[in-house]
């Protein structure tokens, strides 16, 4: 599946019109993890809502597998089942009496049979690590992290081809963050895609195949993590907090050390820095 935003622009009408997106060109497809970075006001939220048809482009077009949203060639309700959008703090959308019913909401809206619904609920809850004993419990009894997993399962139950997540680790403790990221890595396969929006570059970097940086409604960078992180100055200019190790590497480079640009994990940085400083010496403790 491929979704393409072609020259998309969008302005919010109100007492003060707010231009959220300017001529966005972006391709999202299955088989890829796309990281989207930009701070509040960069247009991230607006862009995400164009991916599942919650918003229609005012200028430009959104093409889903080549079919035009603007010309009405795409069934938007169906699109929402193919592109699962998980909003920030999704636990706030829980409303059903039991966890089973909550997760069944999506498949039910899709008009699936009772059996299919049961199957899907079972699979998605198991995917997020919740066993059968949770089925009849109220979602409101759970802890924050568990609630979030239920909310995630409710979207997974629609079996979307592309999963879009807005700040999935927001408000979680380190353990919770790790769990969600591990799950996403497992979920992604060749016929599924992920779009991940995050403020946390350090989290996203080791994970994404491609990174797109948004600033004031425009795409300012689009490339592999390595490529994007080597533009440290540009990133800082648009107010993005670059991974700390990239800053270290950048600073060493500016002092003349020969280290690869675009490093963003601690392990990579340690190796590269050691080699640069010890010129091929042997590393202890391996």
């Amino acid at each position: 599946m491929q979704i393409e935003l072609r020259d998309v622009s969008y302005t919010y009408n109100g007492p003060i019109p707010v231009a959220a997106l300017h001529n966005i060109n972006l391709k999202v497809k299955t088989g890829e993890i796309l990281g989207l970075i930009g701070h509040t006001g960069s247009g991230k939220s607006t862009l995400l809502q164009h991916l599942n048809g919650l918003l229609k482009p005012q200028d430009g077009d959104v093409l889903v597998d080549g079919k035009s949203v603007k010309r009405g060639e795409v069934s938007l309700p169906k699109l929402r089942f193919r592109v699962g959008l998980v909003f920030q703090y999704p636990e706030y959308q829980l409303f059903e009496e039991t966890i089973f019913k909550e997760v069944a909401f999506g498949p039910k809206s899709m008009g699936l049979s009772e059996d299919e619904i049961k199957q899907r609920v079972a699979k998605s809850l198991s995917d997020v690590g919740m066993s059968e004993e949770f089925y009849e419990r109220s979602p409101f009894e759970l802890s924050g992290g568990q609630k979030r997993r239920v909310a995630l399962a409710s979207i997974l139950a629609m079996e979307p081809e592309i999963l879009v997540l807005d700040e999935p680790t927001a408000g979680l403790d380190p353990k919770g963050r790790k769990e969600i990221l591990d799950f996403l890595l497992k979920w992604r396969t060749d016929d599924k895609g992920i779009v991940l929006v995050s403020h946390n570059m350090e989290e996203m970097a080791p994970f994404a195949d491609r990174i797109v940086v948004l600033h004031q409604g425009k795409v300012v960078l689009d490339g592999t993590p390595k490529e994007v992180f080597s533009h440290t100055q540009e990133l800082l200019d648009v107010g993005i907090k670059v991974p700390q190790v990239s800053m270290v590497v950048n600073s060493l480079r500016s002092r003349g050390y020969n280290i690869d640009a675009g490093i963003f994990t601690v392990e990579q940085a340690a190796e590269a820095i050691f080699d640069a400083l010890r010129g091929g010496g042997e590393r202890r403790g391996l």
Binding site: A20, N52, G84, L85, P90, E96, G106
Partner: protein, 263 residues
């Protein structure tokens, strides 16, 4: 995603009307409402309309704001006028089958329509020139004497302030939840009345849950800042009557009484 919702209809300004103590304005607004029900002549309404016009001009209130405030009630307005025209007994002016239009009917219809417009205007001028906070302060102050009979004046006022504070927040939250549920296939648009009511559950339940949690958090935060009810509380902005207020009340109230007496 930012959309600015101005609280109530308040537009800040520096006119005489703006700077009056909110209690003065509240008293006059209430007096106007009473007078409008006591007076039943066009002449009387003319004088009241003149007074309101003066207030409007002084408060730099645009004609557009006035029209905008009447718009929501256009339906009721028309209904009132038409029903009165059609169903009042009296000297017949025009007849077509069932429909009987009398002189008295037209008179009453127009009068009541005008009364409605003037009622709306009276309160609108007050809300356009007085911040919601000032209005609740005024209410709390004026209802003060009721504390003696254990009427929870302070508590009501606090509830009102907090409710006003959260209206924009709740609107934003509603939008967010709607979008989140639509992303799961919820349909808030199609279907008959009953179906649509059912479909609101995924919107209403999260809103209620959130409201309860919010109330809880807020109570804890308020207690942490030593809130313990209205006893002994002082205020940042103490309401004080000024010369302008005494003057205004001294002039306006007798004039209104005169209008009632004469007309």
């Amino acid at each position: 995603m930012a959309f600015d919702i101005t609280l109530g209809q308040y537009i800040p300004g520096d006119s005489f009307v703006h700077n009056l103590d909110p209690r003065t304005k509240l008293i006059i607004a209430i007096a106007l409402i009473v007078v409008l029900f006591l007076v039943n002549t066009f002449v009387g309404y003319f004088w009241i309309a003149l007074f309101l016009l003066l207030a409007t001009i002084n408060g730099s209130i645009s004609a557009r704001s006035v029209v905008r405030s009447i718009k929501p009630l256009t339906f009721i307005l028309l209904l009132t006028v038409i029903l009165n025209i059609l169903f009042t007994e009296g000297d017949i002016l025009f007849q077509l089958g069932f429909i009987r239009i009398t002189e008295q009917g037209v008179f009453r219809g127009l009068l009541l329509g005008l009364r409605l417009i003037l009622l709306i205007l009276s309160t609108t001028i007050m809300t356009l020139t007085t911040s919601p906070l000032a209005i609740t302060d005024a209410l709390e102050n004026l209802l003060g004497p009721l504390k003696k009979i254990k009427f929870p004046v302070h508590e009501l006022s606090m509830m009102l302030t907090i409710a006003l504070r959260f209206i924009p927040t709740l609107l934003e939250e509603t939008d967010k939840i709607m979008k989140a549920q639509m992303a799961r296939g919820a349909d808030f648009e199609s279907g008959n009345l009953l179906k649509r009511a059912q479909n609101m559950v995924p919107l209403l339940v999260p809103l209620f849950v959130s409201a309860f949690r919010r109330a809880d958090d807020l109570a804890v935060a308020m207690e942490s800042r030593c809130y313990r009810g209205g006893e002994g509380r002082t205020r940042l902005n103490e309401l004080k009557y000024g010369k302008a207020d005494y003057l205004t009340l001294a002039v306006v109230l007798p004039v209104l009484a005169l209008v009632v007496y004469l007309f």
